[in-house]
């Protein structure tokens, strides 16, 4: 048995290797800095555009809900602030058997639920099993590799996997595997998630639908002295202008996602900190390879070459992002910063067109979501760039749900989309994107390269981080050559807060730990 107690180094080595020392993923201009002595007390108000939907961790996909439930229910392992590694959270460590099939996880001592009951292995087994049982209608797919979860004794859990599975610890760090009391404490799932109970720093207080949601401090929290805040309230403020004005009027403490256009003015507003945090968001254009001429790699490469990524970063993000040259984002473990994604060159694009099945150009459409000015800008830039290489592109706008319907049905030529990671492991996205049987027919593109599929499967089955890194490099490089997606740009998360807020940090996965946040006068 290989013993790995203490810090989980699941991906640390690979990160160091890939990033070569530049792994500090600190945010921008300082709202996240936790300088000075934390102050106890205070109530934090965060305004954002939409309300939560549900607290059911096993079948809720909406980010606004996830950010709240993460304060109540905690997983066994937690992503590090830079999003690259995992640290034991409700677990204190784990060992893995020689055949790579059995993980023995020790639970942290002295952890209690907010209602005072101690955390036991039975709670852990129940929580993970519930997630697995949600199947296709929930997050169950994330536990697809798990064969069985066994409560060995009160403080030890054994997880066996069907086959060697590199992402297991990352899978267990997902909110859907957050720990709740065994049997929902005797309640039905619906009753339980109406006012969920967990080990997290905050406790459910109330939810006024469409208006606000409040959590209060968990007096039984296992991290001594935390949380600092007495309560956290999320308010629903759909209009970004109103959020900005509320921040300036000190009515709220944090503005979740101000407009890119207002970021510069917020940065210079006295008493306000506007901060960007690296994310895992990749904006891309998908080519439908089931439709000619997108089955032609020259056509896909030509369009990718003709994409002016810098212009998009400027027009859409007001300069607050970076062009994308890999299917993985810099915030994702095993990101290859030399993955060979297309760079902007009209000359190369024209050369590729000449080699293609449509040397004289063709007519096509780009599907985007209606009502989103950012996507309109992207589409307009694409339209003018493609005109230069003989492609006449029309823009098709559908509302978000209709848009998704069209993509699922394969009813598009090219379509805009984005991806963000939920776990600190590339497999969640790579299998979705390159494996036609990964659920989405290769991100709805129909991309099917047996070599890439095999490399990706090999990387997922590998637990050695160095070997995984080499395999994922190959996946990224070959995917770039195949140009199955046109990578556009990586955009950060953006938050604005009053200068009294300290210790607020967002990981590349988008989660934030409010037990570290405090407010000064």
């Amino acid at each position: 048995m290989k013993r790995r107690i203490g810090i989980v180094i699941a991906v640390a080595a690979a990160t160091a290797l890939v990033l070569g020392g530049c792994s500090s993923a600190s945010g921008g201009s300082g709202a996240g800095s936790a300088t000075g002595k934390p102050v106890k007390g205070g109530d934090l108000t965060i305004a954002r555009s939409q309300d939560i939907i549900s607290m059911n961790k096993t079948n809720t996909f909406d980010n606004n809900s996830l950010r709240v439930m993460e304060q109540i229910m905690e997983p066994l392992f937690m992503v590090s602030p830079d999003g690259k590694t995992l640290k034991p959270w409700l677990a204190s460590g784990y060992t893995i058997s020689k055949d790579q099939l059995t993980y023995t996880i020790n639970l942290r001592k002295g952890v209690k639920f907010s209602n005072g009951t101690p955390l036991t292995a039975a709670d852990v087994k129940f929580s993970i099993d519930q997630d697995t049982a949600s199947g296709a209608a929930g997050w169950g797919f994330i536990n697809a590799a798990i064969k069985q979860v066994t409560a060995v004794d009160a403080s030890t859990v054994q997880v066996t996997v069907k086959h060697p599975w590199g992402p297991l610890i990352a899978d267990l760090s997902l909110f859907s595997n957050g720990i709740v009391p065994n049997n929902y404490g005797g309640k039905t799932a619906a009753q339980f998630y109406d006012a969920p109970v967990g080990t997290g720093p905050f406790v459910w207080d109330f939810w006024k639908k469409g208006q606000s949601l409040k959590l209060t401090k968990n007096a039984n929290y296992w991290q001594a002295g935390k949380p600092y805040l007495n309560s956290v309230t999320w308010t629903v403020v759909p209009d970004s202008n109103t959020r900005k004005l509320q921040l300036q009027g000190n009515q709220i403490d944090i503005d979740d996602t101000p407009d890119w256009s207002s970021l510069a003015s917020l940065k210079t507003t006295p008493g306000v900190n506007a901060t960007t945090f690296p994310s895992t968001q990749l904006d891309y254009i998908a080519f439908n390879e089931n439709r000619a001429p997108f089955n032609d790699v020259h056509i896909r490469t030509a369009i990718s070459d003709a994409t002016d990524r810098n212009a998009m970063v400027k027009a859409v993000l007001f300069g607050n992002g970076t062009p994308a040259y890999s299917m993985l984002s810099p915030g994702t473990p095993y990101y290859d910063n030399n993955a060979g994604g297309a760079t902007y060159s009209v000359a190369n694009a024209k050369a590729e067109m000449a080699k293609s099945s449509k040397p004289n150009g063709f007519k096509t459409t780009l599907l985007i979501q209606s009502g989103d000015p950012n996507q309109s800008s992207i589409a307009q830039i694409m339209q003018s760039e493609l005109k230069a290489i003989g492609i006449t592109m029309t823009i098709q706008q559908l509302d978000p749900t209709a848009n998704k319907q069209a993509r699922l049905a394969g009813n598009f030529d090219m379509s805009w989309n984005l991806w963000t990671m939920d776990i600190p492991d590339p497999d969640e996205w790579t299998t979705w994107a390159v494996n036609p049987t990964g659920g989405s027919n290769s991100a709805f593109t129909g991309y099917n390269n047996p070599a890439v599929i095999a490399l990706n499967a090999q990387a997922a089955a590998e637990t050695d981080t160095t070997k995984r890194a080499a395999l994922y490099n190959q996946v990224q490089e070959q995917a770039s050559k195949d140009a199955f997606l046109d990578y556009l740009f990586y955009s950060p998360y953006v938050f604005a807060s009053t200068a009294t807020v300290h210790g607020f940090h967002v990981t590349p996965l988008g989660n934030y730990q409010l037990e570290d946040v405090y407010k000064t006068k």
């Binding site: 797919f141 469409g210 629903v236 209009d239 319907q405």
Partner: protein, 319 residues
Amino acid sequence: MLHRLRFIPGRLIQSIPVAFGVTLIVFFMARLLPGNPALALLGQRATPESVAALSKQLGLNTPIWEQYFGFLGRIFQGNLGTSITYQQPVTSLLAQAIPVTMSLLGLALLFSLVISIPLAALAAFRPGGARDLGVRAFTLLGQGMPQFWLGIMLILLLAVGLRAFPVGGYGNSAGDHLYYLFLPALTLAITMCPTIIRSLRSSMIDVLESEYVGTAKSKGSYGAALFRGHVLRNAAIPTVSVIGVNLGFLVGGSLVIEKVFALPGLGSMMINAIFTRDFPTIQGVTLFVALFVVVVGILTDVVYTMLDPRVNFGAKEQS
């Protein structure tokens, strides 16, 4: 007096087919939208397999006629179904949103009357005069300013600048609600005023030129007494129907205002429901709004009847 209100039961009965028609149209129109609620709920992780699994779980696979008749049957038990997004009864969601929108409308109506009546009177007493021109300029401005822009300007001036009001939100107690609703109601009122002022002004001018006002004046009535006793009541009659029609539109207009001022009313509920294809919620809100318009129509006629003894809807219907 009471015998003249006998038309009300008849009107209520007439509104049943209207409501039925609305349910029919809304039910099927909502389902004409491409994509289903499962697709909206599953976010970026939606796959054909997961959509099928969740649709089944949500009961979206039953035949559409069965769903419609189920919906109709439940209405008569006061049950509007369960919101697909929130997994909660639509009636309880409506119970939270209706007071917000209705108090916003009520307060806006009150404000617009408080602003409109004096201004219209001011303008009507000397048509073409300086005051009249000033009032007309105000109505032009009020009509020309987009609601969302006016809202933001009021926020900037009164909430951010003077810190006299909150920047959006609804507050937690009844007093709070009034305080939070002040600016949005004022915004709605300012955009509603021009129509009321114009209608009231022209009917006041007509009334002021009428013989009975001449008679009243010759009997020594003047100023406020003349205005209250002889002018306002008679001039108000056409304006009441203008307000009645406008209230229906205002429900739609409050949608924008609710967004700007972050009010959790019917408008924001409806927009979210449409985007997430939450059919039961869409149906619930539309049904309520339809009934609201019907009731406002009836109330308009009631006010008519009370203002003008010559109006007798009941008699017309009986003859």
